[in-house]
């Protein structure tokens, strides 16, 4: 993967709407600086610019991520601990990961561009869980609860933020 494509992908992941243009500008300036100052200085400048571009959108997204993932995740964690305490058993492994994936999948369902892929992944995961059998039942129930919770949290986030 080239430097240009990599930084463009990073910007897109950070939610920058003009990721392609920013990455293009940086690429052009990098080429000019390398000719003037040499490779090492140009790389230092490039890395610093990429970091600067990423900090602001990531900082803006942190409260949103907290609202959409951390709060429901903490609530689910408490809920599962309570349920398993009543059963005098230890929570099965992987519930935390499944909760995170379910919450993210729920949030993705509200984004039209990601809806089809998410539905496909969820259907595949559900089919795999049913094929595994009773050992995967806790994970299936966890997904059934966390996906709608993720969608609800994302909706709430859109209203608030």
């Amino acid at each position: 993967m080239s430097r240009h494509t990599f930084s463009q992908a990073l910007f897109a992941l950070a939610g920058l709407s003009d990721a392609e243009y920013i990455a293009g500008d940086l690429h052009e300036e990098f080429a000019m600086l390398r000719a003037e100052l040499g490779s090492r200085s140009a790389w230092r400048w490039y890395a610093w610019q990429v970091l600067r571009c990423l900090v602001r959108p990531l900082a803006l997204r942190l409260p949103a991520a907290f609202l959409a993932v951390a709060i429901p995740l903490a609530l689910f964690d408490r809920m599962w601990l309570f349920v398993y305490t009543q059963l005098c058993a230890e929570p099965v492994a992987g519930l935390g990961t499944i909760n995170i994936l379910g919450l993210l999948a729920g949030a993705s369902l509200l984004r039209p561009g990601q809806r089809r892929l998410t539905m496909g992944l969820l259907a595949t995961g559900l089919a795999a869980g049913l094929m595994i059998g009773p050992a995967a039942f806790p994970h299936i129930i966890s997904i059934l609860l966390s996906v709608p919770a993720g969608a609800a949290a994302e909706q709430l986030r859109k209203v608030i933020v």
């Binding site: 005098c88 609860l145 919770a149």
Partner: protein
Amino acid sequence: MKKWLLRASFGAAGVIALAVASLTLMGLRDTAGLSTSSIEIDATPETVWPWIDQPDKFKQWVSWVVSVESPNPDVKGVGRKSIVLMKEPSSPEPVRIETVLTDYAPPMRLSADVKFPGLFTGSQTYQLKGLEGGRTRVQLDSRIHYTTWIIRLFEPLGTPSATKKLDQDFAALKRLIEKTSTTAAN
């Protein structure tokens, strides 16, 4: 605002109904409450048997067991009762499980009715099978029936945990017996 509240309420109710329906369907399977585990141990059935039958050895490999006491120690075999105190990590108080032997055929089979008042009743059967080379296959079939409906609803969540615990306990049993056998041989 009112419309949003209504939507959220219906959504939450729908999710809960879906989860309850799924749990109910999962709980209808034939193997509901059944946990099975087995392991091969490098020791004869006669060597393995005391680790299942004798309380002081039993509590060394079954996790969470604090003590095993017998209210009728004079009874050998069928009818012998035991009170097993277990300290489950997430629970502040130890749980008290009552067992009564219903089948006793040393060194091959041991069955017991188990009861946790207010939570479950059930039965457990240990079967030992001698294999070639002085090895033993130990199998435990444990069937639990939760006595209250709300806990019974969550059976599909509890049984995988119980099965995992059996597997871990059997791994500990294997380690203990094989370590003891090696030490004795040396």
